[in-house]
């Protein structure tokens, strides 16, 4: 009989104990998959939401605009550039936008905020969260018109309603203060106080006129990707199409530094909690194998008396930990699959736990219904780490089995 077959039979000597240990490994897989899946879903969701409220997954802008975003830093021939970039593999869409600061005033009050000037013919609900979340009215259709879409909080502050007048004041390319009148065509509500109370959508050509921009000038080109995880690779590719003396391509990590930082910190704390889960799994496997080794001291003594070497004994116990790990992974996949399916389809609704109507983290909208998203490489990593830890937990018992002098074991016979 081969050692690996003997190990398999040994593992099933104590069925209940094996199943309990395998279940703890499986539970570890479930926890790890759940935590990682939820985090990845949430991160992806936040990155997409953030990208669709302004900068895109990749931002093409004038050199230095990201550090000091002033309206004099602008890129030209944006329509031509857009046509070029949109044909690139992995690029889902690209929108020419002007982003800047302004004062917004109604008959009753004025407040400071940001404006996002857009070309309505380029924007879609899919890639513009604000348009998707318009609760009253519609987005303006004329890019040179007087329409404006405001957040519901801003509308409240300025006592604005559909069709009401709004004056926005900003500085043009020459540093002169300029103003324009607009009429509210729509009101959006994202649930993020910062956005709803301070961001306004304006028609791009009208803003170009106000700022003194040329016809195809803008502050940025927001590039949306099919898969945000490929942002770094695509950024490199897109950079080759740019005049790098004047233009730069940045990923959401550069333009949304707060979000990127939050994801990094959250990811690190997620790793720590997973490390604790991993330690618990390891302790379980170590305990099981150590008990199993101590119980079989006599048997190991007999095996060594019959000529089994310490090395062969080490291999035998290590094979047992391999089997235990594999059984644990099978249990893990069995219990995780339906749970993953449930979370993927229905998700967990955390809206009751979020305060008021503000569903934001680091100023970015989060979906209160948390689902899961695992990538193949993540699954492979989770299973490999759990498998490796379970096997490593068997090293000490395996080493110990081979170190017990046969005479010590046989004295008990």
């Amino acid at each position: 009989m081969k050692l690996i077959s003997l190990a398999w039979r040994n593992v099933w000597r104590r069925k209940r104990r094996t199943l309990i240990t395998a279940s703890s490994i499986g539970f570890g897989v479930l926890l790890s998959a759940t935590f990682t899946g939820m985090a990845l879903y949430m991160y992806g969701n936040m990155i997409d939401a953030s990208a669709s409220t302004g900068f895109g997954h990749i931002t093409i802008s004038a050199v230095g605009y990201n550090k000091t975003p002033t309206l004099d830093k602008r890129i030209s021939t944006t329509d031509e550039l857009r046509e070029k970039l949109i044909r690139e593999q992995g690029v889902a869409d690209a929108m020419v936008r002007i982003m800047g600061q302004a004062m917004f005033a109604s008959a009753v009050k004025s407040v400071g905020g940001m404006f996002l000037a857009i070309d309505p013919s380029q924007e879609t609900e899919k890639y513009n969260l604000l348009i998707r979340l318009i609760k009253q009215g519609n987005v303006f259709t004329d890019k040179d018109g007087t329409g404006v879409v405001v957040g519901n909080k801003l509308a409240e502050k300025l006592n604005l309603k559909l069709g009401k007048k709004l004056v926005y004041t900003t500085t043009d390319v020459n540093g002169e203060i300029v103003s324009e009148i607009a009429r509210v065509s729509g009101v959006f509500s994202t649930g993020v106080a910062e956005i709803d109370g301070g961001l306004v959508l304006l028609p791009i050509d009208r803003v170009r006129n106000v700022l003194g921009y040329e016809k195809d000038e803008a502050t940025l080109l927001a590039v949306m990707l099919d898969n945000q995880r490929k942002a770094d690779d695509i950024r490199h590719r897109l950079s080759e199409k740019l005049d790098l003396k004047r233009q730069e391509a940045l990923t959401w990590r550069d333009t949304q530094a707060d979000l990127a930082g939050m994801i990094t910190i959250d990811g690190a704390s997620n790793y720590i909690s997973q490390l604790l889960v991993a330690l618990l799994i390891s302790a379980g496997v170590l305990n099981t194998l150590l008990m199993s080794v101590l119980e079989r001291t006599r048997e190991f003594g007999v095996m060594m008396a019959l000529g089994m070497s310490a090395r062969q004994l080490f291999k035998l116990v290590l094979f047992e930990s391999v089997w235990l790990a594999l059984i644990g992974l099978v249990v893990g996949v069995m219990i995780t699959s339906p749970w993953y399916w449930y979370l993927d389809v229905y998700g967990l609704d955390f809206s009751a736990m979020l305060s008021g109507e503000d569903y934001s983290v680091a100023g970015v909208l989060v979906d209160p219904i948390v689902r899961v998203k695992l990538y193949i490489e993540t699954v492979v990593i989770i299973l490999s780490v759990v498998f490796t830890l379970a096997i490593l937990s068997g090293v000490y018992p395996a080493w110990r089995a081979g170190r017990i002098p046969p005479i010590e074991s046989l004295r008990n016979i």
């Binding site: 009989m1 081969k2 003997l6 039979r9 040994n10 000597r13 006599r298 048997e299 007999v302 095996m303 060594m304 008396a305 019959l306 000529g307 089994m308 070497s309 310490a310 090395r311 062969q312 046969p406 005479i407 046989l410 016979i413």
Partner: protein
């Protein structure tokens, strides 16, 4: 093999040689001399019994010959090897290839069938499965277990289990079988049958046996009887 070659007698007829071997155990403050200056030789083809009351040192002598225990002083030679000079892995190889063990409590591996238990040492030796099969079936037939090869230890009687243990001990054709009280846990009819079997293996196949026993039946059949008392050889008589 790092063990010294026994140069005094190149045409060795003794498989085992103990030279002034003593074994002292420390029990708390007390020093227990389990084996005291024992010298003896076991020849090829011997059917020899070490007898004496409990605590006389029988099992300790057997363990030292089997390389399971180390003498406090003196030397143990097995064939050409001074066991004190061998590493742990070399001792494991000697036990695997040159010694067969039969224990009082059978000590079969519970998750293995009779066939697999008998095959175990051959597999440790790296003998391919196909070659093992013929040898194992032959041995099981020889010990009277034909048809029981698929039974696990808990499906066999004590006598049957001890037969499997004997099959496991002799399947590799070792230089010597060390049997520690092999009849202690079986009824007298089974004990006689087991002794018949071991006697047959000794006479027909030339397998050397060294028993530790205080069973009169074993002593009656032994061709050489070594009596131990308080760790010393009291008498060493050749019989029949």
């Amino acid at each position: 093999m790092a063990g010294e070659v026994h140069t005094n007698n190149p045409a060795i007829k003794d498989i085992v040689r103990l030279e002034s071997v003593s074994k002292v155990y420390q029990q708390g403050q007390l020093e227990v001399r389990a084996v005291d200056n024992v010298s003896l030789e076991i020849d090829t083809g011997d059917f020899c019994a070490l007898c004496g009351p409990s605590g006389s040192g029988k099992t300790t002598v057997l363990n030292m010959i089997g390389g399971l225990d180390v003498p406090s002083s003196g030397q143990v030679w097995l064939e050409n090897h001074n066991l004190a000079r061998l590493s742990r892995s070399e001792l494991a190889s000697i036990r695997r290839d040159r010694i067969g063990f039969v224990f009082q409590a059978y000590n079969l591996i519970p998750v293995m069938t009779a066939y697999e238990n008998a095959e175990f040492v051959l597999r440790l030796q790296g003998v391919p499965e196909s070659e093992c099969h013929e040898q194992v079936m032959m041995i099981l037939d020889e010990v009277g277990l034909k048809g029981m090869e698929h039974r696990r230890p808990d499906e066999m009687s004590g006598g049957q289990q001890q037969r499997v243990a004997i099959a496991r001990a002799i399947v590799t054709r070792p230089a010597i079988v060390l049997a520690d009280e092999p009849t202690a846990n079986v009824d007298s009819a089974t004990a006689d049958a087991l002794l018949d079997l071991m006697q047959k293996l000794n006479q027909e196949d030339g397998v050397s046996f060294l028993f530790s026993t205080h069973d009169q039946r074993v002593m009656d059949r032994a061709r050489r009887l070594i009596r131990l008392r308080d760790g010393r050889i009291e008498s060493d008589e050749a019989r029949r």
